[in-house]
């Protein structure tokens, strides 16, 4: 999960998370609503520029991140062409999807999940859900680590020697993982309780001031989008 790493080290991380989220989602929604090839191209190129130049994401990594969704998008584009036989529509949808993914990448490559959740809290999402999401997010990494060692152990014991065995190994690891996760859940609860957990998980939030020039830049970006839509169609 290299994207996670970039979100934590990005220079854009210290910008206000609310502003970044609002900006990212506005661009996403506007790109979708404007439904134009020129706007989508602009979003793709400019978001890549912002992430690479300001976000200090290595270009190679950015392209690697983009390659995976791009494959699905092209695969879907093939299916779409087969179904509708409308080349213009396929081109439009494909570019729109690439633009949307780029806009979303701006957000995920500059904002760690913890800060996204702080934004959700400000949007008055119920605290129960936020707590659940936060724990779930942490547990993903715990379980992935556990899975990794189980996988290595199974592999070194020829658990993936042939197809039948590998299916069985997969099933075994799956059930073992679930069992282990339930056990860990209990330990985790005890640890939380020992640290004063009483139903809500409290976080210390880093204060991020919202600078006027950031707001101006975001507004300018959206104005450029509108202008492109107006003049280039």
């Amino acid at each position: 999960m290299g994207m996670e790493h970039y979100a934590y080290v990005s220079p854009l991380r210290h910008k206000n998370a609310c502003l970044k989220t609002t900006f990212g989602i506005t661009v996403l929604v506007c790109g979708l609503a404007m439904d134009s090839i020129a706007v989508s191209l602009w979003i793709t190129v400019s978001m890549m520029g912002i992430s690479v130049i300001w976000g200090k994401v290595r270009l190679y990594d950015y392209i690697r991140f983009l390659a995976m969704p791009l494959f699905f998008i092209l695969f879907g584009g093939g299916a779409l062409f087969f179904a509708t036989e409308d080349m213009r529509l396929v081109l439009l949808v494909t570019l729109r999807a690439v633009g949307a993914v780029s806009a979303f990448y701006f957000l995920t490559l500059s904002t760690p999940v913890g800060e996204l959740m702080a934004v959700l809290r400000k949007c008055h999402v119920p605290p129960v859900l936020i707590g659940l999401m936060y724990l779930l997010y942490r547990d993903i990494f715990v379980l992935t680590g556990v899975w990794q060692s189980m996988f290595t152990a199974a592999q070194s014991r020829l658990g993936y020697a042939d197809y039948r065995t590998s299916l069985r190994t997969f099933g075994g690891i799956g059930s073992n993982l679930l069992l282990l996760s339930w056990k860990r859940a209990d330990d985790c609860y005890h640890a939380m309780e020992a640290r004063g957990y009483e139903g809500t998980i409290c976080f210390l939030e880093r204060r991020q001031s919202c600078r006027w020039y950031d707001v101006l830049a975001a507004a300018g970006y959206i104005a450029v989008m509108a202008a492109i839509r107006r003049f280039c169609g």
Partner: protein, 250 residues
Amino acid sequence: MNRKERKLVATVFITCVMFGVSPRVNAMHIMEGYLPAGYCIAWGILCIPFLLAGFLQIRKRLRDDGRSITLLAMSGAFIFVISSLKIPSVTGSCSHMTGTGLGAILFGPCMTGILGCIVLLFQAVLLAHGGLTTLGANAFSMAIAGPALTWLLYLFCKKCRIRKRVSVFLAAALGDLFTYCVTSIQLAVAFPSPQGGVAVSLMKFLGVFAPTQFPLAILEGVLTVLIVIGLEVYARPELQALEAEKGEAS
């Protein structure tokens, strides 16, 4: 070779080719930006009642027993991890389980709806599977419709006293197929064919995804059964506790 053997070889050959050609399949997630804005909102709104039901159930459960929050979170993380693992396939092509079928069998459909939604959000953020604007559509197909059918089938098989392994297999495999049908419907409604409308493009979308989704659904069924068998061997008390809880909830 007699006729029977030839038939066997042909079947095995076709199955192997199907597994072999399936590329990195994740056709079930609709990508970011794929659906027009109106449809994104519509599918999102359609999800709300189901998610509300799930939320209320979770809140009640947490009120009764606060310690289930870590259990729920772990279960959600399990769904995430199991659905992001490559399943073994012949050629090393990469495909994934949905994992929500297993979730529905273990925790019931309402809980799986909420957990599945959170998992989809994290899949979008961490792995770029699916997306934020298509979250509603994806949640409807993968976290609500599929698990709901799995759960109903599982209950139905239990009523008919079908063997547990068979019923788990049927429920998981058919739930997976249903997810893919719903995704195709979502795409077809958004992109009707200019000649024949929604019906024609639905048939075409179903046709395009079928060769990859059929073997995947069967594989999902097999793996779910294997996981459930493992749980039955090592975690019978935990499974019984879950069954009891589900009985109370429904």
